[in-house]
């Protein structure tokens, strides 16, 4: 079913919206959540909650891309779940991702009292990504949004995990410089 049809079902409050969403995007959402959580049991919960989240959000919202809208809900829920899991020291994969993202945190702090809104940081990241060479951008998003392992992200781009690791280190360094230049505080 086309996305417009599924959104129409959400607006009509027809429960078929959920089954159609699961049918079309279930596997994809599973991957989004799995990239972060790496646990089937947790993924199942998160993805089910994603459908509920979409049900509550549409209407009033009308997503431009249903797929990406769902991915954002799923990722948000997965991160919430991850907070709990990391507290319980159960998420080694996520630890690795966060540890790599620490490389992007600006060293200098012009105004420590200022904390930027998440949305503003996101916009800056988008500006950075828009100027990035497309293959590096794909690699970055695959690794840090979708939580792919190095091997998975490398396979997606047809390069070796070693090359992926090296390219990602360059992108992280560039992002750190960019955030510093933009004066962004995390």
């Amino acid at each position: 079913m086309e996305d417009s049809g599924i959104i129409h079902l959400f607006f009509a409050r027809a429960e078929q919206a959920l089954s159609e969403t699961r049918r079309k995007y279930g596997t994809y959402l599973d991957q989004v959540a799995y990239g972060i959580l790496r646990s089937r049991r947790d993924v199942e919960e998160v993805v089910n909650d994603t459908y509920l989240g979409a049900w509550n959000a549409i209407p009033p919202q009308i997503p431009a891309s249903l797929k990406c809208f769902l991915a954002q809900i799923a990722r948000n829920l997965a991160l919430n779940r991850l907070d709990y899991l990391t507290a319980a020291k159960r998420a080694r994969h996520a630890e690795a991702l966060l540890s790599e993202l620490e490389d992007c945190v600006p060293d200098r702090s012009s105004n420590p009292a200022l904390v930027w809104e998440t949305r503003e940081i996101g916009r800056a990241v988008n500006r950075f990504l828009s100027d990035l060479e497309p293959r590096r951008r794909t690699l970055f998003v695959a690794r840090y949004f979708y939580g792919r392992t190095l091997a998975e992200a490398a396979e997606q781009l047809g390069i070796t995990p070693r090359q992926a690791k090296y390219q990602l280190s360059l992108v992280r360094a560039a992002l750190k410089t960019y955030l510093e230049q933009e004066g962004i505080e995390l």
Partner: protein, 473 residues
């Protein structure tokens, strides 16, 4: 402190643009991808309308006199093109235009398919059986245009429509929703009329067939080598040569008033490829004994369905879906065809199916190449279409003024579906226990098609493009 900042940055990644998410999505359906797995299918249906009185013959063969105007579609975008984004936008816009047909256009078709599929797939025990329900639908819809009176009414009743006007609207929508020719996927419900140059046909009818059913018309000397060659060339072109053998058998009898050929060819990539190298030989329990076949494997999170006498999974195609139904132990695919529950499941109710579970599915599917050749006359008679086969009752007045005594002498339907993988290499293949039909275990299920099974290929609109029984992969 730094960890907290990394977490904030991680949260901020939530705001990454949709376009970049699509770009890096692990599996973006409909987007270009390298793929090695293909499903190919083709079907041809040929109706011959015979006029028993011998006609004087003259003229050459295969002159195209009417051609439909197929919709134009932007080509499938090139993955490495600098203009990928604009190409993708144009392509997806055209695809949406084709698939957005009037709401409810397919209403009523379910009854036709649920009646006709069991008849189409009934045949000799132990043989593979393949058909294209949509091709049969389109051929019968065109036949209804050619006929009148009770002859037409019987066809309309079988197709589940109240009037010829309703059929025209529906057939046009069905044709369009299934049309795709963008360089990556070719799926065209193509029809052609083969007309004798001795007969004066009703031009309005031919024009309507071109406008509404996208049918071409060729005219020439029936039975001549030139006309038969033109017919074979057209068939092979439309079916990508997949049915060359069956097409070669079709000859136009000199007494033929009109022949109608309807075809569909379909080649499509899987969205989730089966890993190269995971394919391994295993035993398939055919009715005539065990045989070694190549099994492809993929483990994935997916929906597993079950009913009283079957279990089922689907595998997504970039432009549709392929369903596999495994009968429970002791049951045959033919038994499933007689089961109303199975037919309801097959014809689009899977989304609301109560017995479904999302879990880890180990899909173990045989590669196969199944073809069959079916004469539909007896089957259609069973379904209540009788007059068009009887020279005393048939009425083909919309086709030609001199139609007295004309009747359909043959309806041959040939179809072939092959599912294949390139570059297989061996890795260890552990024998797994085939599941019984019924509720699956909690977390993981093996779905092994190692005995006769039923399959169905649907397009984007969920209508049955191909269905079949595989007894011998």
């Amino acid at each position: 402190m730094k960890r907290e900042k990394a977490k904030r940055l991680n949260r901020a990644l939530q705001e990454i643009d949709d376009a970049y998410l699509e770009e890096a999505a692990p599996r973006a359906s409909g987007k270009p991808r390298r793929s090695v797995w293909l499903a190919a299918a083709a079907a041809v249906l040929c109706l011959a309308l015979i006029l028993p009185a011998a006609l004087s013959r003259h003229g050459a063969g295969g002159l195209l006199i009417a051609a439909p105007d197929y919709p134009s579609m932007a080509p499938y975008p090139k993955e490495d093109s600098l203009f990928f984004d604009s190409q993708y936008t144009a392509w997806s816009r055209d695809l949406r235009t084709q698939t957005h047909q009037p709401a409810g256009y397919a209403d009523g078709l379910e009854a036709f398919f649920s009646q006709s599929i069991p008849v189409l797939l009934t045949g000799e025990a132990g043989e593979n059986r393949v058909c294209s329900p949509l091709t049969v639908y389109m051929a019968l819809a065109v036949s209804a245009e050619l006929a009148n009176g009770e002859s037409r009414q019987q066809l309309l009743s079988l197709l589940g429509v109240e009037s010829i006007e309703a059929l025209r609207a529906q057939a046009k929508a069905v044709w369009n929703s299934n049309y795709r020719d963008d360089g990556a996927v070719k799926r065209v419900l193509a029809s052609a009329l083969w007309l004798s140059d001795d007969v004066d046909y009703v031009p309005e009818t031919l024009q309507r067939l071109a406008d509404t059913y996208y049918a071409s018309s060729y005219r020439g000397e029936m039975g001549s080598a030139a006309m038969n060659d033109a017919l074979h060339r057209w068939l092979n072109e439309q079916t990508d040569g997949l049915l060359e053998e069956q097409a070669a058998d079709l000859e136009l009898d000199p007494r033929t008033l009109l022949a109608l050929t309807t075809t569909v060819a379909f080649r499509c990539k899987w969205v989730e490829t089966f890993p190269v190298g995971a394919t391994k030989q295993g035993v398939f329990h055919s009715p005539d004994g065990d045989r070694d076949v190549d099994y492809m494997r993929r483990t994935m999170s997916d929906v597993y369905y079950w009913g009283a006498h079957f279990s089922a999974v689907s595998h997504r195609l970039e432009d549709g879906e392929m369903w596999f139904l495994l009968p429970g132990e002791g049951a045959s695919p033919e038994d499933l065809l007689r089961d109303d529950e199975v037919m309801a499941f097959l014809l689009g109710r899977s989304a609301e199916w109560e017995n479904q579970k999302y879990l880890t599915v180990n899909k173990i599917l045989p590669k196969f190449d199944a073809a069959s050749d079916i004469d539909l006359i007896e089957g259609l008679k069973l379904l209540g279409v009788t007059d068009v086969f009887d020279s005393n009752w048939a009425d083909f007045s919309p086709t030609a003024a001199s139609n007295e005594g004309a009747f359909f002498s043959q309806i041959k339907h040939a179809a072939r579906v092959s599912v294949d993988e390139e570059g297989c290499a061996a890795v260890a293949f552990t024998a797994l226990i085939a599941p019984e039909a019924g509720m699956p275990p909690d977390e993981e299920v093996d779905f092994i098609l190692d005995r006769p099974f039923l399959f169905l290929i649907t397009g984007q609109d969920g209508l049955p493009l191909f269905t079949g029984i595989v007894n011998r992969p």
